[in-house]
Amino acid sequence: MIALLLGGASAFGLLVWHMQRRARAPVVLSFARLLPEPKPAARPEPRFAPTLPLTSIGFWLRIAAALGALAALLINHDVLLAQSGEAVALRIVVDVTDSMSLPEGSATRFDAAKVVIANVLDRLGPNGTLSCVEVVPVGATIGQAGALAALHPLPEGGDAGLLRATAQSASKDCQPTHVLVLTDAVQPAGDWPEGGPVLIWHQIGAPVANAGIRQVTLTAPGLSAAQAGVNFEVDVFGLDLKPGLDLAGPGGKREVPLLPDPDRPSVLQGTLPLTKAGSYLAALRDGGAYGADDVVAFTVPDLPRHQVDWRLAGWKAPANLEPGAGPDVLLVAALDQITPADLARPLLATYDGWQGGGQAQAIGAFTEDADLRAGLNLDAFEAHAPMPLQAALPPGFVPVLTDAASGRAFAARRLSPPGLIVPAPVASGDDQVTNLSLTLFFDALSALTSGGTKLADSRWQDAGGRKVALAWKESDTARALAPTPTTAIEPAPRPAKPSPLTPYLILAVLALILTERVLALWPLMQRRSRAV
């Protein structure tokens, strides 16, 4: 928008400038002394006159200069400058995450990486083929390039994706021909860009079994759970590890029973009910080689809970749900009693569908909605179907179950804020109708009160209390170790060097201004240069 305004103002200003009728230079005549007294002009000339200076070279040069200046102001872009000759421009990407401090032989993985780097530099240095070296440390974030001697593992976790992105990024000072990555992480899958620098992924560290706490979540009580709970996920890497988990907190120390996740065999899960707020410490027993992912401290300031603003006549709110009010609290009410302001809240709305009993009706279009249809038998529903909703659906709601005859909705859903419309529950003499109405209504209520899981504010540390951010990312110390790469680092054509576009734009603008000035002053220069 600012660019458009500036561009428009520049173009308008230039047009106005060109529309000026400039005062003529005074006329000089060699016989002026003999002129009779001249008469003043009959009609004075206007200051501005409409003109379209499309044939003026000066106009286009000024327009180009203005646009160039505007581009220099707004465009932040690099151009690639070709470089001649062959050399090795080496970028060394060093993993400085916490797992690099694991023992490797008599030293650490990081020390082993430094030995590899020293060997590479020794091989390249004497030949004089090394044009530049850039050492970039990568932990949880990309660090500043600097001297290798000043680097050491940091108390934080990281991932291989960031290592690869760093290997692939452009550099103004040392655009690499070769990238050497030293890490204990597995090289991520994915194609390396064609024509890019040669990538050498040197993995360090023999595999060692390890288990670590991956995440801690809190669950609010709902229709299906009477108490709040804390859930643990433990990753197990390598065989023969049988970790145990203890939770210490306001309720004392308790053992968390861990069971394998049916879908993920390497993951153990455990849950404990949570009755008190406070600070907790979960600690793994037999956590394997890497200790910083064995202990997680977390604080539960308030027990998670579900609140509901229950306005449904004739039915009481379930005991697990606390009464509440406010824009974020779930509202349960009849649709015809809801105000427009209530529509912005999480909502379970009902309409009188089964008041007259059920009737046989065919189901029309419906969408797969696991929450609503989990407990519903559609054959029974068709035999005792309610009346569909006669009123128009509120904004944002879409039908999930419709009547074949009229196309109207039996039930509708809104994604955000979450909302459902279903027939109101009835306790009629017809058991089938009662059962169907209760099933549909409480399935809907359950769906809207089941999203109570949230991550605890977790802090990983080792048994000695040393805190390591995102330590769970370091847990997989048992991954397979890739063979030592054999790719030789040979001189290659220097890659194009990225250079900011702005100086070139400014140079072009200056050239345009110079050209415009030279053209404007050319007649005067010619006059001055005439010799006798």
């Binding site: 005062a23 003529r24 005074p26 006329v27 000089v28 005549l29 060699s30 016989f31 002026a32 002394r33 003999l34 002129l35 009779p36 001249p38 008469k39 003043p40 002009a41 009959a42 009609r43 004075p44 000339e45 006059r527 005439r530 010799a531 006798v532």
Partner: protein, 259 residues
Amino acid sequence: MASARQSRKDQLIVRTFEAEERMTVVLILDNRPAMRLPEGAEKLKFALWAMECIATIAAEDGNDVVLAPLFGQGAPVRARGRGVGPVARKVALGLWSAAGAPDFAANPTTLTTALLPFLRPASAVVLLSDMLFDDTDGAVARLADLAQKQRRALMIVELDSMEHEIARLDRSRPARLSRFEGRDFPLAPVDLGEDLFQGARAAAQDLRRARRAQWAKSGLVWPAPVVWPTADFSLARFFTSSFPELAILRNLVTREGPG
């Protein structure tokens, strides 16, 4: 012809005649700022080229040459023989490049004072000018009179660019006139109508007629002017074609008096 000198009959006497003496050709150049007009086809440039050529021709005839500006403090320069060419060139360059941007508003009337001693007997004086200078105090007229004394010849090379300048003017729009040779004009733009230039033509004609009448003595050679073409032209080519046609050349080479 008897000598005025008294002598005995057996003594030899030397008779000298004025026409047999080596002549001094004095070339006077009107160096008013107005001569630097019109722009691109300056009268001064034509006059300087003509001065160089005439000086060279006179020198080849065995004459002394004196080069002098008409106005201002410049000193006349005398040369002879092979030295004339380089000296004339140097004088021309000096006059052309003098004093930066010309001051058209000034009205030079002061003659080059050191000029008069160079007008020795048996000289031919050539004046290169547009003949439109202001001579209210009659200083140039007196110089013209002196130049024609004792059968000396005063030859005028008149340069007329008036019609060329009028033709080149953009007369479609009003314009301001620049202050010129002491003459003030209105600050507001004026119409450049034909009546304005008719008046100028008449005034120039009257001035030249009066000047011709005032200067007319036995030695005045004032042929028709060199007239600048009205269309665009190359001054160098124009000089090449018009210089050989200058009527004063015949007078100068044959040492004829006024025809």
